[in-house]
């Protein structure tokens, strides 16, 4: 019985193509936009997480930055609490594999034979390359000797190398470039890292930490220490231990706030998730509104269809359809039309996302499909319920006699 009514409902809606199409339009459009929006949102998130990995901020790395408070800041902190001694001391902790202290996030103008470029200078130790997962593309890495002798040598990021030596990066090796007032020998060129959002990871020059301290900062305090861990098992616990360790080293009174902050990739992922959660909430609101509109469209088109099909309902009642049979038929109709509509919407949305793939980051997941199936059935059932009830209540005699009495 159930299946027969379902079949009739399918058959009848195919015989009223105009109503069928009208009913589907709204849900197709709203599920289509939902699909593309979700694909773009997920895509952006994936891109950020991917970029973080490239940044050398994987699960087994934490960063100790000078100054307390918020995790991310626009400028390096002026707090002078973090020292090379802190970095050395951190090595004592059993789970610390390597430390990479660094200094200076300021931008300087660099020159080479009439060409100049504005870039970021970092004073680092040799371990910075391993901890931050940097590869040397050409030339050599920084050595302990460079550090000890405060040598004026540098490693160029790919962007800098291309700006100063257009067309032939290799020509940079051995040349002297001017940073501020000083000349530095180019010792090596870093392999490409790519972009973190709008942040170019290759727009930087690395110089020995000691050189940076004497020539530029004129002080020995650090801006940050990258800490490579032996494992990524219990990063939250390691974070707590490092915090307690540094508080003790800095002789902080329990009432005093931290004068440093310990950031893990978990914190970064959390921040990314938070902003994407805000986006999601907004999208969910837009979606609810558009689904509501689709539902109202379905309801109104169905009410119109039912008053158009009153005679048909009367005939079916006379031939043995109960009120429930009629109600089920129209409810089925609403549900399956809405379901088909939302599947069509997902299809078009996925297709659109697929074609957008080369322009903007998108991620094709199964999630929109599940959502579409769920919302399709829900919207159909909710918006079809009242019209279907009305259909069941049609008075067969009046419908059959059609105003004759």
């Amino acid at each position: 019985m159930f299946i027969k009514i379902l079949k009739v409902s399918l058959k009848d809606s195919l015989k009223h193509p105009l109503f069928t199409v009208l009913m589907m339009v709204g849900i197709v459009v709203s599920i289509f936009s939902m699909t593309t929006i979700v694909a773009i949102g997920e895509g952006t998130k994936m891109e950020i997480i991917q970029a973080l990995k490239g940044f050398g901020f994987g699960g087994d790395v934490m960063m100790v930055a000078a100054g307390g408070g918020r995790i991310f800041r626009h400028r390096p902190s002026k707090v002078k609490s973090l020292t090379v001694a802190d970095a050395e001391a951190l090595k004592q902790l059993p789970f610390v594999k390597a430390v990479a202290p660094r200094q200076g996030m300021r931008r300087y103008v660099v020159h080479f034979r009439g060409r100049s470029f504005h870039t970021r200078i970092l004073g680092v130790t040799p371990s910075f390359l391993t901890v931050g997962d940097y590869q040397i593309d050409m030339g050599q890495a920084l050595g302990q000797q460079d550090l000890r002798d405060h040598r004026k040598v540098c490693l160029l990021g790919k962007t800098v190398a291309e700006e100063l030596f257009p067309g032939n990066r290799a020509a940079a090796l051995g040349q002297f470039i001017q940073i501020g007032k000083f000349f530095f020998r180019v010792k090596g060129i870093l392999a490409e890292k790519g972009q973190l959002g709008r942040f170019d990871m290759d727009d930087r020059i690395l110089i020995p930490l000691t050189t940076a301290s004497t020539l530029f900062i004129r002080d020995t305090y650090l801006h940050a220490i990258s800490v490579k861990l032996s494992d990524a098992k219990d990063i939250a616990a390691y974070q707590r231990i490092v915090r307690a360790f540094l508080r003790k080293r800095h002789h902080l009174h329990p009432d005093e706030p931290d004068d440093f902050r310990v950031v893990t990739s978990l914190d970064v992922v959390q921040i990314v998730n938070r902003s994407s959660r805000e986006l999601t909430t907004l999208l969910v609101r837009i979606m609810i509104i558009s689904l509501l509109v689709s539902g109202i469209i379905i309801m109104n088109v169905m009410l119109a269809a039912i008053s158009e099909r009153k005679v048909e309902i009367g005939i079916k009642r006379a031939l043995g359809a109960s009120r429930r049979d009629i109600l089920s038929q129209f409810l089925f109709e609403a549900v399956w039309l809405s379901l088909i509509g939302s599947l069509v919407g997902v299809g078009i949305g996925m297709l659109a996302a697929y074609f957008l793939k080369n322009t903007i980051p998108v991620s094709l997941t199964w999630r929109p499909l599940y959502m579409a199936v769920g919302f399709g059935i829900l919207v159909g059932a909710v918006s079809g319920a009242f019209p279907a009830y009305r259909a069941g209540q049609v008075d067969p005699i009046r419908a059959i006699l059609g105003g004759r009495q």
Partner: protein
């Protein structure tokens, strides 16, 4: 022999606000299997109301109605629907075929709402074709109502009424929308079906048509005026 239709003091009132219209004021009769009965009377006499009470589409305000021994008054909508589907076949003045369906699909429509019995689609289609052959439409299975003449449409409707082997066929002015030639053909078809043992009740205000039944019940002002056999 038990009557297939048993009416005892059937009344029907319509109330709209404070105005009460009494359409049927106590109608009693019985109809036995194999009868061909015409119900006649002027417009507004209550013929159609009576027919739709007989058809289990309207409930009487008072009185008892037994269809094939079942007291209809106590049944739910679901049970009444089942009863209509199994025991009654309808033929309407304006044919009431579903315009989007072919002749064959229209004839098959009652099987959609048939309960209990095992579904045998192939046999149903065979039977629907036989019925269309019986009413002389063997070449029109896949025509839509729009492509058929009035007489042909009414034949499809009659085939549809026969689909579930009903106990009674109820026809409401079956010739009302037909010219005299087509009207004769439909009356002949109904007479022929009655010859084969079908019980037919036909409401008409056309004496020409009414007189061809075996028994004629005349209604006036909600009461039976006469109930006589025809020659």
């Amino acid at each position: 022999m038990t009557p297939v239709i048993f009416l005892d003091k059937i009344e029907k009132r319509y109330e709209s606000g404070s105005v009460v219209t009494e359409v049927l004021k106590g109608v009693s009769f019985s109809i036995f299997p194999g009868e061909l009965v015409s119900i006649m009377g002027p417009s507004g006499a209550g013929k159609s109301t009576l027919l739709y009470i007989l058809g289990c589409l309207a409930r009487p305000s008072a009185g008892q109605y037994k269809l094939d021994g079942v007291d209809v008054g106590k049944l739910s909508d679901e049970e009444l629907s089942r009863l209509r589907n199994a025991k009654l076949g309808f033929v309407f003045q304006s044919f009431h075929l579903i315009p989007q369906y072919t002749a064959l699909e229209n004839v098959l429509l009652p099987t959609v709402y048939r309960r209990g019995r095992k579904q045998e689609k192939k046999r149903d289609i065979e039977k629907a074709k036989e019925l269309l052959n019986l009413v002389g439409l063997e070449t029109r299975y896949h025509y839509r109502p729009g492509e058929l003449s009035g007489g042909q449409k009414q034949r499809v409707a009659i085939a549809r009424a026969l689909m579930n082997d009903p106990e009674v066929i109820l026809a409401d002015e079956p010739t009302g929308n037909l010219d005299s030639h087509q009207s004769d053909e439909i009356v002949r078809l109904l007479l022929d079906l009655n010859e084969r043992g079908r019980t037919i009740i036909m409401v008409t205000h056309d004496p020409e048509v009414g007189r061809q039944a075996r028994r004629m019940i005349t209604i006036r002002d909600g009461l039976i005026q006469s109930d006589v056999p025809c020659s």
